[in-house]
């Protein structure tokens, strides 16, 4: 456990001054900023009848986050994290250290999860901050004083949980193939496919659409338990397979 923790600390250290770390804060900010800009201009958030303004405002942010931003963001983050090692051919140094190779893989997997977790937290804070700004500049929009913190955290958390399977798959791809293009092209193509696939009966089980499907329930407050179980268990299975595959390979 100590070794695993040390591997995670080492991975987090590597993220200093990287685009991957900056993106963790910037990506949700861009999304919230775009929505806030749009509502500022419109002067309304067009909430359906019976839905509170804060909930609908939250829905607009969380759905786009889950359906598009998370899959693309995971794709880019894991590709960048993998590229940190591929770029200077660090594998020979890392695998010549007195550590089980699986520990190094696990460090990568967990650092990807930490990054996405941090950006999910940032999404909540940016969303609430953007809402406060809207309330200040456009009181007529109707964002009252009762910020639904619980709903924000719960759905950001579940969307994050729903992204674990993509994190595991994309981590495997980005560590398995040296080329940045392979990881990016796969993630982008399967995310775009997810936008269409999500409408199918089984669409919410499509790994790249799963966070979007979970986030889509924000305003109704439903929980997609089978999908989240599938995603969580699937992510563990894929991470174990990925760790086994990458660890047994020769470092040439």
């Amino acid at each position: 456990m100590t070794t695993l923790f040390r591997a995670l600390v080492a991975e987090v250290l590597k993220l200093r001054r990287t685009l991957a770390l900056r993106l963790a804060f910037v990506a949700p900010l861009v999304l919230v900023g775009a929505n806030v800009g749009m509502f500022l201009e419109r002067g309304s958030i067009s909430a359906p009848e019976g839905v509170a303004a804060w909930i609908w405002y939250g829905q607009m942010n969380v759905v786009v986050w889950g359906l598009l931003m998370i899959p693309l963001f995971v794709t880019l983050e894991t590709a960048l994290v993998g590229n940190v090692e591929h770029a200077n051919d660090h594998w020979k140094h890392l695998h010549a250290l007195p550590l089980a190779r699986g520990v190094i893989y696990a460090g990568k997997q967990f650092s990807g999860m930490v990054l996405i977790g941090v950006s999910s937290l940032a999404l909540v804070l940016h969303t609430v901050g953007g809402g406060m700004l809207l309330k200040l500049l456009r009181p007529e929009i109707g964002l009252g004083s009762g910020v639904p913190w619980g709903r924000f955290f719960a759905y950001a958390g579940m969307t994050y949980l729903g992204s674990w399977l993509i994190i595991s798959i994309q981590t495997w791809i980005s560590l398995r193939w040296k080329s940045f293009v392979v990881a990016c092209a796969t993630g982008i193509a399967l995310t775009v496919a997810g936008v269409f696939v999500i409408h199918a009966d089984w669409g919410s089980f499509w790994p790249w659409a799963l966070p979007g499907a979970v986030a889509n329930e924000f305003s109704d407050g439903f929980l997609l338990v089978p999908e989240l179980l599938f995603g969580t268990i699937g992510s563990i299975v894929v991470a174990l397979l990925g760790g086994w595959d990458v660890s047994r390979r020769d470092v040439v």
């Binding site: 100590t2 070794t3 040390r6 591997a7 600390v9 080492a10 250290l13 590597k14 200093r16 001054r17 990287t18 940190v84 200077n88 051919d89 660090h90 020979k92 140094h93 890392l94 695998h95 010549a96 250290l97 007195p98 550590l99 089980a100 190094i104 020769d250 470092v251 040439v252």
Partner: protein, 305 residues
């Protein structure tokens, strides 16, 4: 307890049809600076990857400090520091941060990290981003990474690659000092013969994946013939005379001849034979072959056979 830091038995590794390492049996004594020589593509880096468990052998075995690497990889790698094919550094981090990452991974202490920085004289530049380092500084930092856990065995693959003469000398001086200062065995691969000659106590020569020679530097030099250079006034007559006496003679200019001899006594004998044959000798000198001469002789002989 074995006296060998590295022992391989009939090590073999292929990549498709290419046999990169073929039946290599290495014996590296503890405390030695072992120079592993070979031209580019000879199998040096593949051998080093096998020694570190980065790739698995098709046949044979690697033992470090008497124990098989395959079944004791992690325990044995705790005693090994390595620099494989150039420095593996994170350019967006400082020198100290680069060391900190490896420190976390291997569980070394902060004292060991600072000591490694001092060993390679980088303590003043440790706070700078590595992307601003010169090639020599990067190489020294990579050496610090390998030295930080205070290994018993240091494996260095072409550690002076890309360095200017001053950088080469700096790395060379560090390597030379290691066995005495830290009781480290050094296994050093290079294609730069003059570099190896200045630091190595033992030599291995590899070509085409096969180990052509292994032993002390003195043994290698003793195996190689000294070269006698002779200048005479009648070269044709001198050649005829010397060949009749059983010498192998080569000429490299009109009046100059080269002979392989065992030592100074042979020089005197050749001189006497020429003078007795009425050939005037104007120059006679004995040259000890450099490692480069010996290396070329060994590898050319192997290529020819």
């Amino acid at each position: 307890m074995t006296d060998l830091a590295i022992a391989t038995t009939r090590l073999r590794r292929s990549f498709g049809d290419l046999v990169a390492v073929d039946d290599v049996t290495l014996e590296v004594p503890r405390g030695a600076v072992y120079g592993f020589l070979g031209p580019n593509g000879a199998g040096k880096s593949t051998t080093i990857r096998l020694l570190l468990g980065l790739i698995r052998p098709d046949g044979g075995e690697v033992r470090l400090f008497g124990q098989p690497l395959l079944t004791n990889r992690i325990a044995l790698l705790r005693r090994v520091g390595a620099l494989v094919e150039g420095p593996s550094l994170y350019p967006h981090l400082t020198g100290r941060e680069n060391l900190e990452i490896t420190r976390q991974l291997v569980g070394a202490t902060t004292d060991q990290r600072e000591r490694a920085l001092r060993l390679v004289h980088l303590e003043d530049a440790a706070g700078r981003l590595v992307k601003s380092y010169s090639t020599g500084m990067k190489q020294r930092l990579a050496l610090a990474l390998a030295l930080m856990p205070e290994p018993d065995l240091l494996i260095l693959d072409e550690p002076t690659n890309g360095l200017d003469p001053a950088g080469m000398r700096e790395i060379r001086e560090m390597i030379t000092a290691l066995p005495d200062a830290l009781s480290i065995t050094v296994f050093l691969s290079s294609h730069l013969l003059a570099e190896v000659e200045q630091v190595a106590t033992h030599i291995g020569i590899i070509q085409g994946g096969q180990l052509l020679f292994q032993g002390t530097l003195e043994a290698l030099q003793a195996e190689a013939a000294n070269q006698l250079t002779v200048e005479v006034d009648q070269p044709d007559r001198a050649i005829e005379l010397l060949q009749r006496q059983g010498w192998t003679v080569r000429t490299n200019s009109g009046y100059r001849m080269l002979l392989n001899v065992n030592g100074p006594a042979d020089g005197a004998l050749v001189n006497a034979q020429l003078v007795r044959g009425d050939v005037n000798v104007s120059h006679l000198s004995l040259t000890r072959p450099t490692l480069e001469d010996i290396f070329l002789a060994v590898t050319e002989e192997s290529a020819g056979s």
